[in-house]
Subunit: 331 residues, 2 copies
């Protein structure tokens, strides 16, 4: 932690919504260096006391559907109401390859200029399994910094959507107007986690198509089994235009309607509790398996493997050697 | 280990092909008691020195296809040639539920009476993840006891076939005569691991159908990509009648032809090495994850989970507490 004397101070600055501290904090939690991890845990422990709760809005959609335009328009709409908005990204390409396709800070120029908005580019690299932890910690940091709404954006490809939905209070799926046949293209899995389906680009030439697509989705949403954590009428599909800023007020109304109901019925807190438990267990699981990726362990495994090959040791006995060395038997 | 003074003695008796010792040894490795596991590892270490190699024949097929009849007929054919035959079962139901559907000792009465045959009923229960380890150890015990052929039988349902194929030198798929349309019923995955496809029940009314089914499979096997560890002509389909003991000699000829080639070309040993390595790594992976099923660990996780729920600790920090306590950092 260069340039920041102590973590308690950093935490305090974050809670005072100091933007530089905010960025420093997120940079810290993005690091996988051992000493940084220890500091990061200390930081998270300090921030826990803030007890602030933002609305965490997950957002997914295929490339070209207008996610950036939507966040820019909708975010500006929200800051216009005096709300503080943070934008984070979960980049699925970083899960696999270490490359980044999202998070270009310049892509939301108008929103980025808003004093009440904070846009965090997605980190350019990370190690496998760390994406979820890093994203959750970044959300918690923004929450402690007093943001009212936190967008967690991802491109729609399987694993990253699951991560985002397990971090969010509400999940928005952005789609483009399309012919009826293309409706099947949206996987059932994503339909089942979406709370609002926003058919974007309901403007100009595409307005009629957007309206039809919206009706198609409305019909198929009605065929889904009723979810216990939804009030009547949800999940729902709406046609909007991020470009012409049309329908943004309705989106906000629906988000509030859904979350107010969930809060009143206890589902909001229930969901957060379930999410914490999920990630707690998942982090232990990942932590256990990360042993297999450790260079030192790999070296020892390779040496034992040679002994197995030469018939000097039975493979189970060799496996037990590793397990005995690196795990403690619960007692 | 009741009634057996020491493990070295048990190992010696096994290597002398003492049937009682053989059964005792397999009972020992089937136990999941901690002290038995330690003895089992000791036993396996002793048996390693035998350096004997059986032919390990994996066998799969849906219920009713005639697996028991085939093993009975083929096993008796082999013992008739003076070969020693062991029969083990990997029971997929035990993987999930703890129940047993295979391994009824009485179902192969004729083979069971052969002095050179040993049929081991599948254990009635086991814990998840232990099936593969137990099966591998049972195979190694039979091998050390000097059996020439070890059949490892399973009902064809996904996971158990993978386990069996990763234990075997050669994999036989038994199927019933059927109309051409049903050919697609055999999953591509199983076609790809099969070395010989045996169309059983080529007798009486079904003889013509068996012959047609065999041709259909032969054609579709030719469409599979050539496998580097196969000589020309493999994998292949054959029509046989286990009931009328028709074609058994051909099956044995083909098994010998394939394995002789693989031995000469190095693939036989290569495969065994790859299998040892696979199970070595898999056992470590399972061992790491078994932590999550330990009652003591579950209790501590539950206590920490409550603290997470009450906001007394951040979920990552809680996860790290478990990891720190039960794993040793490699250095």
């Amino acid at each position: 932690m260069d340039g920041m004397e102590n973590i308690a101070e950093l935490a305090k600055s974050v809670m005072n919504a100091d933007r530089r501290a905010l960025s420093q904090a997120i940079t810290l939690i993005e690091s996988s260096r051992d000493d940084h991890r220890i500091q990061a845990m200390e930081l998270m422990d300090h921030l826990r006391s803030s007890d602030r709760k933002a609305i965490r809005v997950g957002l997914s959609g295929t490339p070209g559907v207008g996610k950036s335009t939507f966040i820019e328009s909708f975010g500006t709409y929200l800051t216009g109401m005096g709300l503080r908005v943070a934008v984070l990204a979960v980049d699925p390409s970083s899960i696999r390859s270490g490359g980044s396709i999202l998070g270009d800070k310049t892509r939301m120029e108008r929103l980025a200029r808003e004093p009440n908005a904070y846009i965090r580019p997605s980190p350019s690299q990370t190690h496998l399994g760390g994406v979820a932890r890093r994203s959750r910690e970044a959300v918690a940091i923004c929450e402690a910094a007093g943001f009212d709404i936190i967008f967690i954006e991802t491109v729609g490809v399987g694993q990253s959507e699951t991560i985002v939905s397990e971090i969010s209070d509400i999940f928005l799926l952005l789609i483009a107007p399309a012919g009826g046949d293309e409706l099947q293209g949206v996987k059932r899995g994503i339909m089942e986690i979406a709370d609002l389906i926003l058919v974007n680009k309901a403007d100009g030439d595409l307005k009629a198509a957007a309206s039809r697509t919206c009706s198609d989705y409305s019909s198929s949403l009605m065929l889904l089994r009723k979810r216990v954590h939804d009030p009547t009428g949800f999940p729902l599909a709406m046609a909007i235009s991020a470009l012409e800023e049309d329908g943004l007020g309705d989106v906000w109304d629906k988000i509030e309607e859904l979350l107010d109901w969930r809060k009143a019925e206890g589902w909001f807190d229930n969901n957060r509790t379930a999410q914490s438990r999920f990630w707690f267990k998942e982090e232990i699981r990942q932590g256990l398996l990360s042993m297999l990726d450790d260079e030192k362990v790999k070296e020892e495994m390779s040496a034992l493997m040679n002994m197995v090959d030469n018939g000097e040791i039975y493979s189970s006995a060799a496996a037990q050697k590793i397990l005995k060395k690196y795990t403690a038997k619960p007692r």
